[in-house]
Structure formats: structure tokens, C-alpha cells
Symmetry: C2
Subunit: 336 residues, 2 copies
């Protein structure tokens, strides 16, 4: 941990008490101006940095918040993290990131680790596998507030930042119908993810509102939301006696797979079949064709998450809130 100077070193050199140096350094009252100047000078010279372990031990707070996400190498999460990070920095907080890699077992380990790290609060998005939430309740029992985003729910015990999934799915379907699609397929996600069923609900409702039949064979729920399962799901859809004229998806990896597989079948997008996905702006834009997508202001979502957890940390009695972040549809080439 290096050999960084301590207040004691400065105190010794100045021939004064540690407490005096402490006060002087932090701009507290009760120190002479000349003393303060001398202290600050020396602190600067020595590149003094307060020892956070000592401070943490004393104040019983770490000024750190933990972020638990399914995947560190997924743009959706990292762009949210960018927002969390920025907002955290502004308040003097650091963040620690842990990935569950979509496994409950890992998620539990992440939580244990966060406990070890003594984070002041946690912002989390649960794994695809996660079905029960006891491990998160442990945190609440330890008075560590938790804010969930995108996935995960703990009723009124913590705040949530969610996407208006149902509405966005309806928006998506309506857009496809407007573009002339009649047979819209949906490649979804785990049933027990709230996000997933909300979107499916929106999809079904929108179909009904448009007086289109809801066909079982057009709704695919792969085991995992991976590129590979996206390929096979698409293959399956295209092999149906009456294949869909549009495919909408719930995740970017699956969307990329759909593009790939559709082309491999010799079909042209958007002429032969249209594609629409929940894809972040960056990827939606760079793909070819560019993808009509439901996106979100991820960075802002991160900021919202931090502000919430910050409130809960500052005031443990703070009531849990439910923030719905708006989604927006950007029409691009894939549904033209």
C-alpha cells in the first residue's frame, strides 16, 4: 500500500499535536491561520492523502457503493456504470463493480464480497438465473440499502429503477404494424424475469389492439439470452410453415444473432423481414442494416440509480421509490 505520509509525520515535523494537524488539514475551526498554512504546505509537499482505512474505521462508512451486474463486458451495463460513476464521484463516492456472469451462485459471492468491502449501499441488476431474493435481503438486514435497476424486485423494501417495459413493447409492435407487418415474432427472455413478462404482455396486448392473432409458435423463450440461442431461435422461426415477417427481440446479443441468421437464410432486411430490438444506440447505429430499436438513456439511468442509493444512505428511513425511465423508439433501416 505504499509509504504514504500520515498526519503523525506532519505533526512530528511541525512539532505539534496530531489533532491540530487534522483540524488544520480539514479546514475545521479552532486553528490559527499561520498553523493552517504550515500544515497545508507540508501536506502538499508530502502529497498527503488521508488514510481511508483509518477514516472508514472511525466513521463507520466507506464512501463506496457496490454495483452488481450480470456482465462487465456488455455495453448496456457499462454505459449505465458510466453514469453511476460520474454521479458517485461528484459526491465523493467510489464504486466497486462485481459481475455475476448471469449465475446465482456468483451473485451470492458478489454480495458476500460487497459485505467484506463494507460498501455503504448497492446498486444491482440480478442475473438471468436469479429467482429468489434472499441473498439480497441479507443486505437489507445489515442496513445496507439496495437499489435495483432493470431486473430484480424487492417490493417496497428497496427502490427500483425500471424501464417501462410493457409500454415499450407495445410501441415496438405498433411500429412494426405501421410498417406493414402482420406476423410478428418475439424472441424473449426468462419467464421469471419481470422485465420479460412485462414485455411479453405489452407485445400480446398490442397485437390484440391491432386485431392480429397471437400465435404461440411466434413467441420463443430461449434458455439463455446468448448469441447462440439467438441463432437457433431465429432458425426455428424461419423454418415454420408460415414464417414471421418481423422479429422483435429483447436483448442486443440476440438481435445481432437474428440479423446474422436471417441473412444466412438469404433473406433481405427489411424487404423480406423486419427486425426490431432492444439495442443500445451505439450498436444499433453501427450494425448493417442499422437496427430500429428501443433504447434508453443509459447514462441517465446510472445517475438516477446513484441518486437513489445516495438518498437511502443519507437517510435510512427514506421510503423506497419506483422510478420508471422512459424508453424511446428510433426507427432505422431494419424496419424501413
Amino acid at each position: 500500500m505504499g509509504n504514504i505520509k500520515s498526519l503523525k509525520d506532519i505533526a512530528k515535523e511541525l512539532g505539534v499535536a496530531v489533532s491540530t494537524v487534522s483540524r488544520a488539514y480539514r479546514g475545521k475551526d479552532g486553528v490559527g491561520e499561520s498553523m493552517r498554512k504550515k500544515v497545508l504546505e507540508l501536506a502538499k509537499k508530502y502529497n498527503y492523502v488521508p488514510n481511508r482505512f483509518a477514516v472508514g474505521l472511525h466513521d463507520n462508512c466507506s464512501m463506496t457503493i457496490g454495483v452488481i451486474i450480470p456482465m462487465i463486458h456488455a455495453y448496456f451495463y457499462t454505459s449505465i456504470i458510466a453514469g453511476i460513476d460520474e454521479a458517485a464521484k461528484e459526491q465523493g463516492f467510489s464504486i466497486v463493480i462485481e459481475s455475476s456472469y448471469e449465475s446465482v451462485e456468483n451473485e451470492k459471492k458478489c454480495i458476500e464480497n460487497m459485505l467484506k468491502l463494507r460498501v455503504d449501499g448497492i446498486i444491482a441488476c440480478i442475473s438471468q438465473e436469479t429467482q429468489t431474493m434472499e441473498h439480497f435481503e441479507t443486505l437489507l438486514d445489515n442496513n445496507i440499502p439496495v437499489v435495483f435497476f432493470d431486473r430484480g424486485n424487492l417490493g417496497t423494501r428497496c427502490s427500483h429503477v425500471v424501464i417501462d417495459n410493457k409500454a415499450s413493447a407495445k410501441k415496438a409492435v405498433n411500429h412494426l404494424v405501421e410498417r406493414g407487418c402482420q406476423r410478428i415474432a418475439l424472441i424473449g427472455a426468462q419467464k421469471y424475469l419481470q422485465m420479460s413478462s412485462d414485455r411479453r404482455e405489452g407485445y400480446i396486448e398490442a397485437l390484440e389492439e391491432n386485431r392480429l392473432p397471437v400465435r404461440r409458435e411466434y413467441i420463443i423463450v430461449p434458455e439463455k439470452m446468448t448469441f447462440k440461442s439467438g441463432l437457433s431461435s431465429t432458425r426455428h422461426l424461419l423454418s415454420l410453415p408460415e414464417p414471421p415477417d418481423a422479429i422483435m427481440t429483447m436483448s442486443d446479443e440476440i438481435t445481432f444473432a437474428v440479423l446474422k441468421e436471417v441473412k444466412r437464410h438469404g433473406l433481405k432486411i427489411p424487404k423480406d423481414i423486419k427486425v426490431l430490438g432492444y439495442v443500445d444506440e451505439f450498436h444499433a447505429e453501427i450494425m448493417d442494416p442499422s437496427i430500429t430499436s428501443i433504447s434508453h438513456h443509459n447514462y441517465d439511468m446510472g445517475v438516477i440509480c446513484f441518486n437513489l442509493i445516495f438518498k437511502h444512505i443519507q437517510n435510512p428511513k427514506q421510503k423506497a421509490k419506483r422510478v420508471v425511465v422512459p424508453s424511446y423508439l428510433v426507427a432505422r433501416e431494419s424496419t424501413k
Copy 2:
């Protein structure tokens, strides 16, 4: 930071001394078996977790390593981080990530922050802007070892994990020549990045070895390695009296831009023009056409980085090493 129980709480409940509990909990000698059992039981019941601030203060080490990268939302870095993270976990280390967002000013702040966080070592990739390295030397002066990867160099004062840039660029050119290209353009990166000049060198050497002219107008060095500058660089190349029949790039964002812009010009890849880039496997694979690329085993690179910093932490006298990670060319559709 919650209300987690301390050793003292356990000691009190058991009516024994804290030191006894400490020994028992950590499996040290000099504790009766029955005592140990009682302690472990209670620790489990109370969900006891050692207070890392107390431990850190005592041991003067944080078991944390800092990772400074240009961008948290770039696959290249996050996939390396996945490797660092995994290796770190195995040794009981945590990691803290900070992004410079390609700015030197931010980079300096990151370093300050790492100092505050009392990390035991730092793994870093410098920003595009960074030209001098004094801020990193501060770390070394404080006995905090630094390992650079991809970008950044501090001679024999720290270890480096680098890509065999020159060789890989030659590999790329040779591949294009084999595929019949004669007018190969290069969209590069900042001159003062070693990585950049190494690749340019390899590019030039390979051209010469293939008895192809080295044309100034085919070497573009944009201000920043962004999608936008990739677009304008490509536009420029295509507007030349004699446009190139292949474009190779040094970063993924620029590669995506090249694909986009080339198509916008109505040219077909690979028929009219071939494209080759330094792109990670994931993106190279999902793009259309899939991109022939120079890739690296990012995860492994992360592991190597951690192992190096770990050695330096364990043994401050450890000599600096230079590890060259191999790159490999995967031929895909964009150069068929």
C-alpha cells in the same frame, strides 16, 4: 456501512477475550477445539465479516488493485478486466476501476483517487492524450507498483504487457496482399502512442517487403480514434483520385465507421474494397460482413496483467518484465 457484528460482539457473548476469538476465527494455533467451534458457530450465526478497514489499517495493505482504462464502455477493456477480475479474486484481491475517458486531466484524477483508495498496485492503459508520464511516476515514488498494458510505457521502472504491434500489422498487410490488394490504406492513431507507431512501422515494412509503394496519402492519422473521425477519414480516402482497394484500421470504432461509410458510398465489401481491423472477436463476428481482424486473447491478457502486478506487490524488488502477447489474424468475410 451497515451494522455488521464485530469480534468484540462475539467475544462478549462468549465471555472470552477478543484475541481468542480472532485466533479461533482465522484458524490460528493456540485455541482449544471446543472454543474454536463455538466461535465459528457464532460467527456464522451473526454473519460475521472481518472489517477490512481495521484489517487494512493494521496490515497496511488494502488487497485492492486499481485498474485505469480509457473507457469503461469499450469491449476491449472490459474483456481484459474480466480476466483481471477473475485472477484477482483467486488471490483474494478486489479491483477498482477508473476511466480516464481519454483525457490526461481525468487520468491524473484517477491516480489521485487510487492513492486515496490505497490500492496495492495499479494496472493501467493510458489515455490517447497522454504524452508525459510524471503522474504515474508519483505512484512509483509511493512504492505502488504499476503495470501497463496496450498503451503506456515507463521503461524499466514497471512491467508492460504489450501486443506485438509491428508483427501484427505486417501480418495484416501480408494477408491483404495475398488477397490481391495493391493499394492498402491505413487509418491510424496518435503519433505519440507507441502502439500506433509500431503498427505503422509494421505496415510500411510489409509494404516494402511486398514491393508496394508507400503512399503518404494512404496513411491517415485522425485527431481522435472515434467513430466520427473514422467516417471522415474513410470519406477522405474514397475521394482520392486513386482510392485504396483495402483499408486497414487500428481500432474497432474506426473499423465500424469504415464499414458504414464504404457502404454509404455504394461500394461492396469485399468485392470493391477490403477491410481489416484490430477488432475483438465478438464485434468482428457480429458485423456484416464479418470483419477480418487482428485479435488478442483479451481475457488472458487480463490474467497476465494481474499476475504481474501480484508479483510486484509480493516482492517489491521484482524486476520489471515485458510480456508480449501474441495476436492472431482471423480471416472473415471482409477480405474474402
